[in-house]
């Protein structure tokens, strides 16, 4: 456990030294300042109170609060994760560089501990940054609009969980290919294209009317990270609405465990 902690700490420091951490913190601080200005100099309740999504007014006791939460969380989910993938893709290939991996493997540390250390370190970097932004916004919403619902804070956990899901895939790809570019490209492909398409598989199937196609789509839906459905869960949690299905969370958790275990298996078979 100590070894996992040491590797996690170093991954954290690596992110800090490569200005990844500061870059995230800078963007988060900038966004917080923008929202602070909005809260200080505008009538936020009036500004967001009339927001409609798909032509419908938002439900709940305070539609303005719901609108501002969605206005913040959806870009944070998309753009934030985009940046997180970009900045963490090199963690594993960098660890595997000659001269670096030799030293790590010459220490009394198992290959499993190395992978877990990198995983938890990367996840911690993203969690700290996401929580900083979400917590800051939560304070503003609380003071500005009187909504102190802690559900909004859970959004930081959901976003971090989605990152952990994609990061486990990046670790696997990094171990197999040693290429940060490949790990990044495939993660973007899953996050931006595959998952949204597979999430809409039922709509697509009605147009194509093919049982085989539906079965194939269903198969891939359950083996590809369900980031799109987790995005919907994020909105539900932030707004305090009940979660319709826990299946994406369970499937994603299984994916993380499987990806990490397979990474450990491949890593333990490789020579460096």
């Amino acid at each position: 456990m100590n070894n996992v902690w040491t590797i996690s700490k170093l991954t954290f420091r690596e992110a800090f030294s490569r200005k990844i951490f500061l870059f995230f913190a800078g963007i988060s601080t900038f966004l917080l300042l923008v929202f602070l200005a909005v809260f200080l100099f505008t009538d936020v309740a009036a500004l967001f109170g009339s927001v409609k999504i798909n032509g419908k007014e938002l439900s709940g006791s305070n539609p303005a609060v719901a609108a501002i939460k969605l206005f913040i969380l959806n870009p944070l989910y998309g753009f934030g994760l985009f940046l997180a993938i970009f900045s963490s893709a090199s963690f594993i290939p960098h660890m595997l560089e000659k001269g670096n991996i030799d030293l790590l493997l010459s220490k009394p540390i198992s290959r499993r501990q190395l992978i877990l250390g990198k995983f938890f370190g990367g996840v911690a970097v993203v969690f700290v940054n996401v929580f900083y932004l979400v917590f800051g916004l939560w304070l503003m919403i609380g003071y500005g609009l009187g909504d102190w619902s802690v559900d909004f804070l859970l959004a930081s956990l959901v976003i971090t969980f989605v990152f952990a899901l994609l990061y486990s895939l990046m670790i696997l790809l990094g171990i197999v290919s040693r290429s940060s570019v490949l790990a990044m490209m495939i993660s973007y492909l899953v996050f931006l294209i595959l998952s949204p398409v597979l999430s809409s598989r039922e709509i697509i199937s009605t147009f194509l009317n093919s049982e085989i196609f539906s079965a194939v789509m269903n198969f891939f839906y359950y083996v590809v990270p369900q980031t799109s459905d987790l995005g919907s869960i994020l909105n539900s949690i932030a707004l305090g609405n009940p979660i319709e299905s826990y299946s994406p969370i369970i499937v994603s958790l299984a994916f993380i465990v499987a990806a990490i275990e397979f990474s450990v298996f491949v890593f333990s078979k490789k020579d460096y």
Binding site: E14, S17, K98, N100, L104, K107, S110
Partner: protein, 313 residues
């Protein structure tokens, strides 16, 4: 006790791309005793680094056994008693010298207080103490090597593997590193040294092994390996070497080396003694008979050429 024991070790790297499978080690068997400085020699691609990496669990053997400190090398916890300086090592460049020591100390499973207590003495040993708070990205190659040696010693290891430790170090620094190695040996540490600098190996190592194309072709103490068994240098107290050559040159293979010195080549000890008897019988007063020594470099080149079927053959 043998610190390193390798038995019939073979490593075949599977084919990648256009190249076929490569046999990096071919049935290597050797052992390294406690408290010795062991030098592993061989031309590029001989399998030296592969052997060290197998001992450290970085590379998996295809077949054979390898034991370190009496344990199978697959037991990673044994590495808490091992130090390693790889060739062209890379430390996280955002750390200071002190940070590197702390990081690798933690990875070696040491307590914080133990690490703190060892950092200054070790950095002083390698003459890097005044740079300990400087980020290593501004270090020179020689400074990185010194820090690398200190890092390899942080956990007070019983056995230390050093791959080209004097690479990039100036002559004074090389001498200092040699002194450190001898000091460690006197403390009872076992040192496994990979180096291309044969003169350095000759100066510090007790025993050596030579690898070529994955095969162990010679093993022994430096004394044994650099001493030829066939050629002897003679010095006589009276008379001249020319007279000796005139008298015995037809029966024995002799070469003059000075006024009262010559050398002779003998197939075995009986023939050597028969020559000495003949000289004594002729009243020659022998001052000394010494087996001829060659430099490690000459011997190394000769052994490698022999293993490859001779030069230009």
């Amino acid at each position: 006790m043998n610190i390193v024991e390798v038995e019939n070790l073979t490593k075949i790297f599977s084919a990648s791309g256009k190249s076929g499978a490569v046999k990096a080690l071919d049935g290597v068997t050797l052992s390294v005793g406690e408290g010795t400085i062991f030098g592993l020699l061989g031309p590029n691609g001989a399998g030296k680094t592969t052997l060290v990496k197998i001992l450290l669990g970085i590379v998996r053997p295809t077949s054979g056994n390898a034991k370190l400190l009496g344990e199978d090398v697959s037991h990673y916890k044994i590495k808490s008693r091992v130090g390693y300086l790889p060739e062209n090592h890379k430390f996280p460049n955002f750390l200071t010298g002190e940070g590197v020591m702390k990081y690798f100390g933690e990875l070696a499973g040491m307590k914080k207080s133990e690490i703190e207590n060892r950092i200054d003495p070790l950095l002083s040993l390698v003459k890097m103490k005044k740079w300990k708070r400087t980020k290593i990205k501004s270090y020179s190659k020689g400074m990185m090597q010194r820090l690398g040696i200190a890092q390899a010693l942080i956990n007070n290891p019983d056995v230390i593997f050093l791959d080209e430790p004097t690479d990039g170090v100036d002559p004074i620094g090389r001498k200092e590193i040699r002194d450190i190695l001898l000091k460690l040996k006197n403390e009872g540490k076992t040192i496994f040294l990979n180096s291309h600098l044969l003169s350095e190996i000759e100066m510090v190592c007790n025993s050596i092994a030579i690898l070529n194309k994955g095969k162990l072709i010679r093993e022994g103490t430096v004394e044994e390996i650099t001493t030829t068994k066939e050629i002897y240098d003679f010095e006589i107290a009276e008379g001249s070497a020319t007279d000796i050559l005139a008298k015995f040159g037809t029966a024995y293979s002799l070469v003059a080396k000075g006024n009262a010195a010559f050398s002779g080549k003998f197939d075995d000890v009986d023939r050597l003694n028969s020559f000495i008897d003949s000289m004594r019988g002729a009243g020659v007063l022998i001052k000394s008979v010494v087996p001829k020594k060659v430099s490690l470099e000459d011997m190394f080149i000769s052994v490698i050429e022999d293993s490859e079927g001779g030069k230009n053959e």
